[in-house]
Each structure stands twice: as structure tokens, then as C-alpha cells.
Amino acid sequence: MHPLSSRNKHKVDGGVFRPQITSLVDVMTILLFFLIKSFSVDSTVVTPPPNVELPLSTSEKGAQSRCAVTITKEEIIADDRVVANVADIERSDSLIIEPLHALMKHILPQCMVEESGSIVIVCDKDVNFAVVKKVMSTCSRAGISDFSILVIREGEL
């Protein structure tokens, strides 16, 4: 039996090697549809920073564009600025984080959604609740009334 007869479909025309790429095109097409689907379905507007490991939740409410206060294991970040150190906040007795309070009062007009101050807290899952409590208390004192937490939808990892 000739080596290039039935099983091996590679063709040699006048010395030019022509591989059979139909199966590769099939894979590429399936991959393309999958990627386009995953690209278009989720229109997340709040992007968690890479150093924050979000908690898992069964909540299915979609994320909306809001002011974000990010709590990493080391820092508290608001309006793209580091406003406090988590270790210092844990040691402090005060419920109010002064630099965050000043910043939130300043950016409150940008955080208004339907006439009420609204923020999303992007918090690392292992941060102690004491820090989250102080952030919420501070934001509340600055005029924020609607709070939400950013989480990863369970089963989607």
C-alpha cells in the first residue's frame, strides 16, 4: 500500500507540501464561537484588582458601575488612591478612618446613584470583619447610604 494513499492525506503537488488543515479549522471555529460568547455575555463594569481574592457567593445580581472602595490584605484604596493601611486600621480604636472619610466626602457627588450615595466594597475574603466595619462606618458617615459587596459567583470559577 502506498504511504500517501488513503490514511495519510497530506498531498505533495510538484514538491509543495500541503497539509490537511480541515480539523484545525474546525477546532478554531468552535474556539472562536466559545470566546465570542464568553466575551459578549458578561459586561462587568467593576474589575477587581489582581491582589484581591474575592469571596464566593451564590448571589446572581449583576455588578453595576459604582464608586468602589477596595480593601486588599494590606491597603484600603478609594478613587485609585491608597488611603490607609489595613494593619493600622485593625490596631485603631476609632470607627472612622479619617483619610477615607475626607476622600469620600470629596467624591460623594460622583457616587450619587438615583439621589443616594452608593458604593461597592471590593474586599479580600480573608480580611477581618473589623476593617470592613470601619470602612462601612466611615463611608456611611460621609453620606453613603447604599452598600454592596463584590463577590465571585459560586460555581463559575
Binding site: 500541503r18 488543515i21 484545525l24 479549522v25 478554531m28 474556539l31 472562536l32 470566546l35 465570542i36 464568553s38 466575551f39 455575555v41 458578561d42 462587568t44 467593576v46 477587581p48 474575592l54 469571596p55 464566593l56 457567593s57 451564590t58 448571589s59 446572581e60 445580581k61 449583576g62 455588578a63 453595576q64 470607627l95 461597592v120 474586599c123 479580600d124 475574603k125 480573608d126 480580611v127 477581618n128 470583619f129 473589623a130 470592613v132 466595619k133 462601612m136 462606618s137 456611611s140 453620606g143 447610604s145 447604599d146 452598600f147 454592596s148 459587596i149 463584590l150 463577590v151 465571585i152 459567583r153 463559575e156 470559577l157
Partner: protein, 163 residues
């Protein structure tokens, strides 16, 4: 007789292989797929909305008279508790390996909800040293039990200190 209008009239021995040039298609794929992979979303994020206690907020709540007692889910480093006012109704200790018994909590919370004056409302109160992920899990369990209005609050270890 012809069965189909589109059937080729040539006998199979005369059919020729048509060589389709897929190089431009492959070029498009090679550019498009890395772009889409870089933009693809593999984890889906969502939000949990909650309220803060009136004394933490703007004071918009009704301050006249005594506050009504609502169910409170208490999270401490050593146990999970269901309280109403100062009465501890149920408690579930944290297991030796540090795991909270959220599965058992769900059943007990459903029972307490059916007996509560406010079956839609619950406050999740967590002690300072509890990791944030357990507060989120407690909110999930509360929502799955049918509570639609979930508040979040700090729980004091020493009530005499006031916070």
C-alpha cells in the same frame, strides 16, 4: 429519474478534489483568537446589596419608640448564633477544624424565620476577628432561607463598651 435538482450529473470517477485556500481564514483566526482569549471573562462577578444599621447611617430610620426586635445571625470566632434581642435562640459551635456549620444553620434559621414577627428581615452581626468570607456566607444562607432584607452590623464582644 433524478431525485434531486442539486445532484451532480457527473459519475463519481470524474469528480475532482476542490482545493479551497483557507490561508486567509487561518490568518484571521490566528489574530482573532489571541485577542478574544485576552478579553474573555472566565469568572463572573456579582454583587450583594445590604443595609447598614440606622445609627451607622444617616439617621433616616424611625427613632420614635423602642426598636422592634429582629432576628440576628451572630458570627463569632467560636460559634454561630441566632438571637432575637438579647435572647440566644440557637447556637452552633465551630468544629475542631475551624469549619462553621452553615448547613445546620440553614435548617434552624428556616424554623426561626417562620416564628419571627419580621420573616423578611435579618441582621448579620459579626465579631471583629471573623474573616469577611464567613459574613458573606452567612448572608448567602440568610437569603437562601427567604430573608429578603439583610442588614450587616458589627457584634460587640463586650456590650458595656458600646461597640
Amino acid at each position: 429519474m433524478k431525485l434531486s435538482l442539486f445532484r451532480s450529473s457527473r459519475p463519481p470517477s470524474e469528480m475532482v478534489d476542490a482545493d479551497v485556500d483557507v490561508t486567509p481564514v487561518m490568518n484571521v483566526f490566528v489574530i482573532l483568537i489571541p485577542f478574544l482569549v485576552s478579553m474573555a471573562v472566565f469568572t463572573h462577578v456579582s454583587i450583594i446589596e445590604f443595609s447598614v444599621p440606622p445609627d451607622m447611617g444617616q439617621g433616616t430610620g424611625d427613632t420614635s419608640g423602642k426598636p422592634k426586635l429582629k432576628l440576628t445571625l451572630l458570627l463569632t470566632e467560636s460559634f454561630l448564633g441566632i438571637t432575637e434581642g438579647e435572647n440566644l435562640l440557637d447556637s452552633l459551635p465551630v468544629l475542631d477544624n475551624g469549619i462553621y456549620q452553615f448547613d445546620s444553620l440553614s435548617a434552624r434559621l428556616s424554623v426561626r424565620r417562620s416564628q419571627s414577627e419580621f420573616p423578611d428581615e435579618i441582621i448579620v452581626a459579626s465579631r471583629d476577628g471573623v474573616p469577611f468570607k464567613y459574613a458573606v456566607k452567612a448572608m448567602d444562607v440568610s437569603r437562601e432561607c427567604g430573608f429578603s432584607k439583610i442588614g450587616i452590623s458589627g457584634a460587640t464582644a463586650d456590650p458595656s463598651k458600646g461597640r
